[in-house]
């Protein structure tokens, strides 16, 4: 087994489906907030195969979409996938069903942020690093990963 960091294939844990969650409002809420039609996804996996950061994620982007369709909010907001996504739009331009997956990711991030703590705050960056990074990086990270 190849053990180099970042090269292990991501594997999602098995989940137990129940009627209340699957029939719940979560999928529709994501649809409405992102302006996308989530249920159009037929799991071709194009987004996951093109994602440059898929190796860093615990749940692949296509599986995130499936989990959202099934109303698995807890699984999604506990995953690191939504915080690793760099909003590079690779999935968006490649989706054969025309779903703006990046907008869905943004929406999921927003839902997770509304639920609880910020993923990344100003205290988590050392001042020397912060003095060097161009401002779009700093503004971007705080807008995407904190409330």
């Amino acid at each position: 087994m190849y053990k180099k960091l970042g090269l292990d294939p991501p594997c999602s844990p098995p989940i137990l489906l129940d009627r209340t969650k699957v029939r719940g409002e979560f999928g529709l809420q994501v649809d409405e907030l992102s302006g996308q039609h989530l249920y159009a996804c037929y799991q071709c996996g194009n987004c996951s195969s093109g994602c440059p950061l898929a190796q860093e994620m615990d749940i692949l982007p296509s599986r995130i979409i499936r989990l959202a369709q099934l109303g698995q909010k807890e699984e999604i907001i506990r995953s690191n996938t939504i915080w690793i996504c760099a909003s590079c739009f690779q999935c968006t331009v490649r989706c054969p069903k025309g779903i703006d997956i990046q907008a869905v990711m943004d929406t999921l991030r927003q839902i997770a942020l509304d639920e609880g703590v910020d993923h990344f705050g100003p205290d988590q960056i050392d001042s020397k690093h912060a003095a060097e990074v161009p401002q779009p990086g700093l503004v971007g990270v705080y807008r995407k990963l904190s409330t």
Binding site: A86, T92, V93, Q102, Q124, P134, P136, L138, G140, K144
Partner: protein, 313 residues
Amino acid sequence: MAKVAYYPGCALNERSSHLDRSARDATEILGFELDELESWTCCGAVPPVSKERIMNLIAPSRILKDVRDSGRDMLITICDFCYNTLKRTNFSIRNDDIIRKRVNAFLADDTPSRTYLEEDTTPWSDYEGEVKVVHLMEYLRDELGYAEITKKLKRSLKGLKIAPYYGCVMLRPFDEIQLDNPENPTIMEDFVRALEAEPVKYPYRTECCGSYLSVSSPDASTRLCYRILSSAMKNGADAIVVSCPLCFYNLDSRQKVVLDAYPDFKTIPVFYFTQLLSLALGVETDRQGFERHYVDVSPALEKIGNSGEGDKA
């Protein structure tokens, strides 16, 4: 000299001021001036999360409306993040009635000249997306023409193999940006050819360098940068050319970290496209801010024989 409205954005104003300066030097030689807006604010760097978050559209809309109100219909930006944010905001205002109405409701409130309504004869014109947002590279391609650049070359970059790096937000999402093919772009390759250098094709030219992850998950960004940089080198590149301050930071400064993590790695110089342009148009090497690069650029400059005074007449 023709003047075009120019929005530098925060990075070019300070931490990437060498990108700004080389762009101004080059455009002056090419016969137009980057006319910086009298007042501007941050554009917000990333477009809003969802259509509900109308607040995130206000800053870029205000910038665009100011350009329109000053009687101009084109705005040049260089930073890819500003370009993406401004262009996508403009697209939303043009194509979405509800967004247009809501944004204009906010903009009407914060315009100070509207306090004396009786005397104010200018119409309450809503901003409807009239301004065209262009990237400097797009302007060079479509308005000026790359052939025009080749005519004005003082130094040919012949012999230099350059790998263009597009990054993410310059090309995508295609529906709204419409700059070039998102999977097989040619705008930078053509630019490199216009400078008489040789473009290098490599598979990672449109892959993300990690963008803001270099702040929140630096290790992930390091691995991405290693992939991009080593792929460019494997295909024979002497240097990489970028247009975005954040791509530059990730690909240049991060090579320090990449070197520690991957012992087989060798550094490769990274240039802004404006630096190559102004070099080729005859601007001195010491005006390019090369001392601010982490990776020494002199191996690339030696290849074209102009690290010193050996300029082509």
